[in-house]
Symmetry: C2
Subunit: 481 residues, 2 copies
């Protein structure tokens, strides 16, 4: 899956890959070489078509997930991924590449994880510890379960109503295109262990936040509140949650044994890896693309978020290959430690607090491979003609206009919270939560045409944001050259 690079007459790297991609790329270079007679809109359209044909994103995600594999926040594997990313930025000809380290308060390393129904019908259960979960006693624990088919039902239990029990919540997640089904219930994973502990539970099991029927448990972080005991917490595979529901429905107590041996090694470090393409006219103004380099440890982090890493790296690479840099700087930040609560995103926002006024716009893909179906802005001047030009350039990719309520996503949210303009290129998440946070998040699940469309969307938006003089930080501008 690797791609060779050859140097063309103007000094830009162009991929020597499939003939169509090479030809498309050459066309862009030739078009751009015509100089002032090519409008930014035409260049954006050409860039989009080139990326659709072969953006180079598949090569990036294939290499990352194969050469590194899983890359848990704060782990050696995440550090190897950071070194890999730095090298890749350099190989792709980014003008400046650097790494910014930051502390992670609590490291977490998965251990053994086993569960079984003890009675009435002994059989194993598929579970995975939630991120940050404390371990069970070394020999495991065994208790009767108290099963709730909705989280609200558990919350209705009074203090000590779950004393000595393993609380089990089997609420289903609904499939949605915009990931709202996840947002609606992820507190069941995040806050559930604390709520169960407040009611006296000795452990907590949650049906995986999953829209699929695979016998794989979905990982994901949980957060212990300060005012409740920290109890071991794990996700059940969807079929195992259904099995417990059936056994409970038959009447009589159901006893479960649980063993989790995660380690919590205390403070660790993570890092953000940054590559930028210096703007030719306004190098101090930044269009920032983010993605997170860390992943859960069960899969190889292909859709979460190797895909995002590939999309933003490849989009910037396509811009880098133009015969001239765009007006503004394009900065790509590959964040660390996203999965434990946007730790890299918050560290970046804190470290760059003094330069927040330099960010013209920020965006981050963190919902898999796409396709992108809508363009949502979060501008003070959404009616700026430049926004219309972006919409017009995205339309041929099947991307619709959306509202102006973007507050960014994932790691760029801490920037958007401080007033930095953000956009969301909304990705179709219909099948994302089939794979998300599971062992099944592997390269084979990524379809090149979906990844290329998403990359095309990012390259079109990014190029226009960096090239058009419109400034989304202030009053509307003409948006013309």
């Amino acid at each position: 899956m690797s791609m060779n690079f050859a140097r063309n007459v103007r000094g830009a790297d162009i991929p020597v890959g499939p003939a169509s991609g090479w030809f498309a790329c050459l066309m862009v270079v030739l078009m751009a070489a015509r100089g002032f007679c090519v409008s930014p809109d035409e260049t954006a359209a050409e860039l989009g078509q080139k990326a659709l044909a072969d953006s180079g994103a598949m090569t990036i995600v294939a290499d990352l997930t194969t050469e590194i594999g899983p890359r848990l926040a704060g782990s050696d594997a995440e550090k190897r991924a950071a070194a890999w990313a730095k090298q890749r930025f350099e190989k792709l000809g980014f003008d400046k590449v650097w790494v910014e380290e930051f502390p992670v308060e609590h490291g977490w390393i998965r251990g053994e994880e086993r569960a079984a129904i003890v009675s009435p019908s002994p059989q194993p259960l598929v579970v995975t510890a939630l991120g940050s979960s404390v371990p069970t006693p070394p020999g495991g624990l065994e208790a009767e379960i108290a099963l709730f088919t909705s989280y609200e039902e558990m919350l209705a239990v009074p203090t000590n109503g779950l004393a000595g029990k393993i609380a089990v919540v089997t609420q289903r997640m609904t499939t949605t295109r915009d990931a709202s089904g996840y947002g609606a219930i992820n507190r069941i994973r995040g806050a559930g262990p604390g709520e169960a502990a407040r009611r006296g539970a000795v452990a907590y099991l949650v049906r995986s936040l999953s829209t699929d029927d695979r016998r794989l448990a979905h990982a994901g972080a949980t957060r212990y509140p300060a005012d409740a005991p920290h109890i071991p917490a794990a996700a059940l595979a969807a079929p195992d949650a259904a099995q417990l529901e059936r056994l409970v429905a038959k009447g009589g107590p159901v006893r479960v044994r649980l063993l989790l041996t995660p380690r919590l090694p205390g403070p660790v470090t993570s890092q953000n890896v940054i590559g930028e393409i210096k703007g030719r006219e306004r190098p101090d103004e930044i269009v920032l693309l983010g993605a997170h380099l860390d992943s859960w440890d069960l899969g190889t982090g292909a859709i979460d978020d190797g895909a995002g890493v590939a999309i933003v790296m490849a989009a910037a690479k396509c811009i880098r290959e133009l015969p001239q840099r765009p007006r503004r700087t394009v900065r790509v930040v590959l964040f660390g430690a996203e999965e434990f609560g946007l730790i890299g995103g918050r560290a970046y926002a804190a470290a760059h607090k003094a330069e927040l006024n330099r960010y013209v716009v920020v965006a981050e893909p963190d919902l898999g491979q796409g396709p992108v179906y809508a363009f949502q802005t979060g501008f003070v001047n959404p009616d700026d003609p430049a926004v219309g030009r972006m919409r017009a350039a995205l339309a041929p990719l099947g991307i619709a206009e959306d509202d102006n309520k973007s507050h960014g996503s994932s790691d760029v949210e801490p920037l958007a919270e401080q007033g930095v303009p953000a956009v969301t290129l909304k990705m179709d998440a219909t099948d994302y939560f089939n794979l998300h946070h599971t062992a099944d998040d592997t390269l084979d699940k990524i379809k090149p045409e979906r990844l290329n469309q998403s990359t095309a969307a990012y390259v079109v938006f990014t190029y226009l944001a960096a090239e058009l003089p419109a400034d989304f930080r202030g009053a509307p501008t003409s948006g013309t050259r």
Copy 2:
């Protein structure tokens, strides 16, 4: 999912379930109650329609997979399943129910199973030990892999050509409706470890015999030849096989660590559980339906072969509920220890050798939930009018005519090999090998409409085979009443 039973005026148990099923059942009883004016063809048609609406098979497979779960050959769980089956036969009103024990030469109990890429990019691999595999040394073993994308390539390696290596075969399985894609390559699992050992390999990994991309390894038995060392053998999940292919394609050695700790406790026992409905006129003539009660240990054996158990139990139950028994005896045999090589089927054929001439016809579903799409006979008299009546009765269920080459399937093959007539109600196996032998073989994968159609096919065929006087063991008969 349990079903209540009420006694009707004629003393037959009829299920009180969904109104439609109850009504259909009542209609059958009323039709049959009219006595000699109802032809077997009409009764078969009614039975088929009743089973399509609600055969009771879902309840059986739900109860088996929930109340027992996995039931590995020779295990305590398999014995619990046998006790469950005996009780269920009795509850369903079978006339005679008994258990026949038999020895299994080698028991096998799965232990820990872990594998990882050690270099160039450390990451875990999803594997599962093949049934009968010997363990690795207690600390595991580590070696460079020799990867073959086809089994023939490995067979072309000369003696000692794999010395010290872990042999890896990643040949893909093709998806077929008739399961021929499995038949074409299952020697890669069965004979592969022996062939690798002959060439000096220290362990053997085979890409799961799978048509799916799930990160689950598929279990299944292997057989060591007498003339080669017994080396540890495991299946790789499909995405892991692809990962190794990509790493090997990048060049340089790939080292893998493997730990398998199965136990081989020596001789164990298993059992066949038998229930029969005594024929009203020719009780010594037997129509035998088989299915296997054991399953692999990773899932709950829903499609393999809880579905088959449910189909044949429910089909016989529907016949049992008729106001009068059919002419011949219907015997249902739930075989033990199928997964380790038809051990229960062979034991049955041996134990019943003296009565082989009593079997009018045998059949067994062992390809999941169906639907059944073709009716294949294996008769000396395939042109008997009774066969035409069977075909006509099956046609409304969407079941086509097939050839006369049936030699039975699974556990009834040892009977067919000795000349007992067999039929194959061919099941659509297009998606069967997505789930087969994995942790994902769970109840939620079964669609009631598919299971009911298969049960309808079995009830129609079985009723006519037991009721029509045609005898497939000898010369054609008139096939009329």
